[in-house]
């Protein structure tokens, strides 16, 4: 039943919405676990392919939720997944927006910010590790990850870096160095 799927999408993405600190990277690990391992909406390989599509598209990386919804239940699934992922966090933000303004630069505010930052860092690294462990990811991808990270840390445009990675992979594939 498609309705069951739509409800399942809401139950997966609405809670993720409220813990997506720093956006997509912090929830990729759990999104992959739910979509692939728990619900079996798609395979590990297609999750990685969708991740690549979501990085090549405009918009926040967490829009991969729309693609997971699409795989699970078509266009309605994409819409439901996107609304479920963005609506709860948006309501929190708007509620806090009113309260926060009155708080100014208070000690409480700074303490909460400092406490959340390292959690977000740990979640981002966990998301990267999870996706690098997927099937079909090997030494070339690890080298790409390390090389691109070093390049980005030196201030390169993410667009340029991704285009270079695509060109390098296309070239290596053509000469038969990678893939089979």
């Amino acid at each position: 039943m498609p309705l069951d799927r739509l409800i399942a999408l809401v139950l997966v993405f609405a809670p993720l919405s409220l813990v997506s600190l720093g956006g997509g990277p912090s929830i990729f690990a759990e999104m992959q676990r739910q979509a692939v391992e728990v619900h079996g909406w798609l395979t590990d390989e297609s999750f990685v392919a969708l991740f690549a599509i979501s990085r090549a598209a405009p918009g926040p990386g967490s829009l991969i939720a729309a693609l997971v919804g699409w795989e699970a239940a078509g266009f309605a699934g994409a819409l439901v997944a996107a609304v479920a992922l963005y609506l709860p966090s948006s309501l929190v933000l708007l509620a806090a927006g009113l309260w926060w303004r009155r708080r100014g630069d208070s000690p409480v505010r700074r303490v909460i910010e400092r406490g959340l930052a390292p959690v977000a860092v740990g979640l981002i690294f966990a998301g990267v590790l999870t996706l690098m462990r997927a099937e079909g990811v090997g030494l070339p991808e690890w080298l790409t990850l390390v090389g691109c990270t070093a390049w980005l840390m030196r201030g390169a445009s993410p667009y340029l870096v991704m285009a270079a990675a695509a060109a390098a992979y296309a070239g290596l594939f053509r000469i038969g160095a990678i893939g089979a």
Binding site: S20, L21, G59, A96, V119, Y169, G179
Partner: protein
């Protein structure tokens, strides 16, 4: 109140500006673009008000770019402004990403496509890793590193479900930040 009354943003202008920004948001860097459009070019809000929104959007759950758009829309025109800013920043990319997925479903079997997409995905992950590394470099003291390490091991290495993990880790981390508040 040194600044003159900022020009009042119409709801249509908010939608138009954020729809354009949404399509420009490849690979991050969106707060920079928003600052340019909203503060410098249009003078819809002050620098301080904008920076408060940047901090708020990063601390609270949700995509940073979506949160910042919501905040700006809310400051400018309340709930309708927030709704239109979010629609602008998410609507066009939503349609584009589905279009790309359709193209992939149709042409995904092209030889080498999966290999190239794998490489692009690794480069995209480098983008995420860079965000994490930059934030890590700003951490001062031992406890933030311990919190980051515990979170990483629990969610990334042990593959524990994230929500129970953060429900334990976030209060602990805020408590540690409270204890260390005079050190930093």
């Amino acid at each position: 109140m040194a600044d003159a009354m900022p020009p009042r943003a119409s709801l249509g202008a908010i939608l138009a500006v954020f729809a354009a920004l949404g399509m420009a948001s490849f690979g991050g860097g969106l707060p920079g673009w928003m600052h340019r459009e909203v503060v410098r070019k249009r003078r819809w809000m002050t620098e301080e008000n904008f920076l408060a929104g940047v901090a708020l959007g990063q601390v609270l759950p949700g995509a940073n770019s979506v949160n910042l758009a919501l905040y700006i829309g809310q400051q400018l025109r309340g709930w309708p402004g927030a709704a239109l800013a979010a629609l602008g920043i998410l609507g066009p990319p939503f349609l584009v990403i589905l279009g790309l997925a359709l193209l992939h479903a149709r042409f995904g079997e092209v030889p080498g496509m999966a290999v190239v997409l794998g490489g692009v995905a690794a480069a995209g992950l480098a983008n995420s890793l860079t965000v994490g590394l930059r934030a890590a470099r700003r951490m001062r003291g031992l406890w933030p590193w311990a919190v980051a390490a515990v979170t990483f091991v629990a969610v990334g290495v042990l593959r524990l479900p994230m929500i129970p993990v953060v429900l334990v880790v976030i209060p602990a981390s805020v408590a540690l930040a409270w204890r260390a508040r005079h050190a930093a």
